[in-house]
Symmetry: C2
Subunit: 447 residues, 2 copies
């Protein structure tokens, strides 16, 4: 029997070969987000039909219908069992199977979707054009935890909320996180109403009630947990990544005026829980393997405590994922202007890694479950153009940003659409895309 | 067609009549927690069997098996449909039906369990002695929100964490809440390991990692949401209670040393999410109706904003539920000593009502779902004996509490069992019991 680690290495080497081409032509186009080296998972159905959602894998401009593929019996063994688990309306069953199964399915899909594969005929009938597909949140999310892993974001926002101590004393020791709201996590493309709530106007001693006037975005990555851990048993660093199924884009919409008034002493609540948007495609850690980079602390910073440290984490714990935020107003849309890029950064700047999030979250015995979601926290990078929330870009609303067409913004206005994009690209490796996470602000219910 | 409100009033009047007696003898005993006027819901099975959990209603010393009752076909119409919904392994389907169905089922159960009821023969075969039953968490809890509704607790604990500003400026305006962890909510009787984590020793500049040394309890009530609301649509005060299925006891175990170090700026996380214990029986708002009391703000305090105010809330928004905390050490158990009461208070002292929690939580469009759980927050009352957490009783660990048998405690030690009790009692009404919510501290995994 091959050891899992050897099998995993072989899968990685074989499935990432830049020379691989697919029998789905669009997967081979330069700049494709979905080459045969990516193979991300979603749940989808044909738009406008009453069909059930089921698992799908992106290849070029198509979705491979995993329920149809399972019925065709193309895969056997571990890959076949994983395919069956991916046929339901959420990916939890696949997520629960663990990394050996995910790896087996990835390898089987890679081989079957390659040019010349004998499965082409059987699988061609399982393709649905992405142009005809609609998506749902990919998992039943039991618990959603939002972290705070960018020291640049923590410093920028801390300066605005607590000028005397921007970075709390725990920041460089604790991968800070808090629990978010699962019920209001929505799929890319859905709109949400501007939230109502209490805010304390500048200089006032009593709050006012109304629609939020300081509606903001937060550019984050979402991290889907695969197999969980029993309550009471921590996941050590060495095993942490084996519990991670994959990553998506996440927009943690935030009402800054509500947040400033409500967040002491127990943290953000109504300022965040009205909506959180995720992108449909979950990119696996295996797909991202070529984009691993060393994780290094700045000189002079404390080293992580032993339970948050491992050689692998130092060597390749970080991921170089390119990220961009685009904003399109109603006026820009009317004028035919595309969304304007207002932030461009990389996930490599995060101060805490995914493995550290998993190890920290469970060190007290907290049990994770398949389909649980982590947010990375706002992924601001070190420079001004890398600020990943309006509150940072506009210095708390004091410095508007200019948009093409002559408009400007400090905070989001009704009708604004925000689109997050993510991709990995470098010489010698194939581009891996996340595509988009979009949402539009609808007017408040009662304003 | 009878209007729901009239039907509800008729149900209340009929089902609360103190003269009602049950054909289950133990329900008629003075001091019974489960008279025919209570009828709380749980999910249960015969202990030590591989049976499926299913819904049950407590009557005297018995559980009425709702799956068996549904099969017997005793109820028709709305009550029959509600009985079917209660036959599964969680109560979510029953919770989702809404108050007219809950009321119909309560009335049917009340009539069928009364002395002389023609259903006695059919239902007698559906009884399981409570002495043979074990219970599970009654609902699939999608999201768990913990509130902070005791101004006495907020002031007591604020004084320890923030001596300069014990009560944050928002406290009397905002029913403060934050999201908790659903996955680690456990049923009464389960133990949990003392959590590991980071803490900053007094005077130190760097944290240490180890087992928590300041393990605490929080006496709370749990509030199960029944029917939910669509995302984007707030629940107004006038409708808020119609979304509440019922109440249980809840112990929000807390590691104070972890909490003090981690909680800034996003709130408690690992200090709380290792375990939260709930009692098995969910007591409905209808059962609690005789114990409603006016909700009044202290003179000079601001009145609630309009979205948090209603005549009914002022008139009868609070509930007079008696609450008690008992602590039993390993030594006390060995010596045959019962748990010692270390706190005795009432829910009537809360600063914010259940209706206000629901209205606030949804005012920004956040969607609640059937089976969601709220915690009331630690229910400390105004006097010293009403402090509902060790951190308050011991003034932050400085003043140990003496226990029978000669031991004392500042914080929980391994093997300690904490039992919460709740009940309603007054002249002219029948006692309504919650019974107990118990948990035991197991040693840390790595200490």
């Amino acid at each position: 029997m091959t050891l899992p680690s050897e099998s995993t290495m072989a899968t990685l080497n074989e499935t990432h070969d830049p020379a691989l081409r697919s029998w789905v032509d669009a997967a081979n186009a330069p700049g494709s987000d979905f080459p045969v080296q990516n193979l991300p998972f979603a749940v989808f159905r044909r738009r406008g039909t009453g069909e059930s959602f089921r698992g799908g894998v992106a290849i070029g401009d198509q979705v491979l219908d995993l329920a149809a593929a399972a019925r065709s019996g193309v895969f056997v063994g571990a890959a076949g069992a994983a395919l069956e688990a991916a046929a339901g309306d959420k990916l939890n069953a696949l997520m629960a199977l663990g990394p050996a199964s995910w790896s087996a399915l990835r390898l089987a899909l890679s081989r079957a979707l390659r040019a010349g594969a004998p499965q082409e005929t059987a699988l061609r009938s399982c393709l649905v054009p992405q142009a005809q597909a609609e998506y749902d949140v990919p998992a039943r999310i039991g618990d959603y935890t939002d972290f705070y892993t960018s020291v640049h974001h923590a410093s920028n926002i801390g300066r605005l909320f607590r000028p005397d101590s921007p970075l709390t004393p725990n920041y460089k020791w604790v991968p800070i996180g808090y629990h978010g709201r699962s019920s209001s996590i929505v799929i890319s493309g859905e709109s949400f109403r501007r939230p109502m709530g209490q805010a304390l106007p500048p200089g006032a001693s009593e709050p006012v009630f109304g629609a939020s006037r300081r509606l903001d975005i937060e550019l984050e990555l979402g991290i889907f947990i695969g197999s969980g851990n029993p309550r009471g048993e921590a996941i050590p660093m060495a095993e942490a990544e084996s519990h991670v199924f994959g990553l998506c884009l996440l927009n943690d919409w935030s009402a800054r005026d509500l947040q400033a008034w409500e967040y002491q002493p127990l943290g953000p609540f109504l300022a965040k829980n009205f909506a959180t948007t995720v992108s449909p495609w979950v990119v696996t850690l295996e797909a991202l393997a070529p984009y691993r980079v060393p994780f290094e602390r700045p000189a002079g910073d404390p080293q992580p405590l032993p339970y948050l440290d491992s050689p692998a984490n130092r060597g390749e714990g970080a991921l170089d994922i390119q990220l961009q935020v685009e904003l399109q107003t109603v006026g820009m849309r009317a004028a035919g202007l595309p969304g304007a890029a207002i932030c461009r950064t990389s996930y490599r700047h995060a101060y805490w890694t995914i493995a550290q999030m998993v190890a920290h979250h469970t060190v007290n015995g907290c049990n994770l479950q398949p389909g649980d979601l982590f947010g990375s926290g706002t992924l601001s990078g070190p420079t001004e153009g890398e600020a990943a929330a309006l509150i940072e870009m506009t210095q708390g609303g004091k410095k508007p940003i200019a948009l093409p067409g002559g408009e400007s913004r400090t905070w989001l206005e009704d009708g604004d659409t925000v689109t997050l994009r993510g991709w990995c690209e470098k010489a010698g490796a194939t581009r891996i895309g996340f595509v988009t996470c979009a949402g539009t602000v609808a007017p408040a219910a009662l304003s």
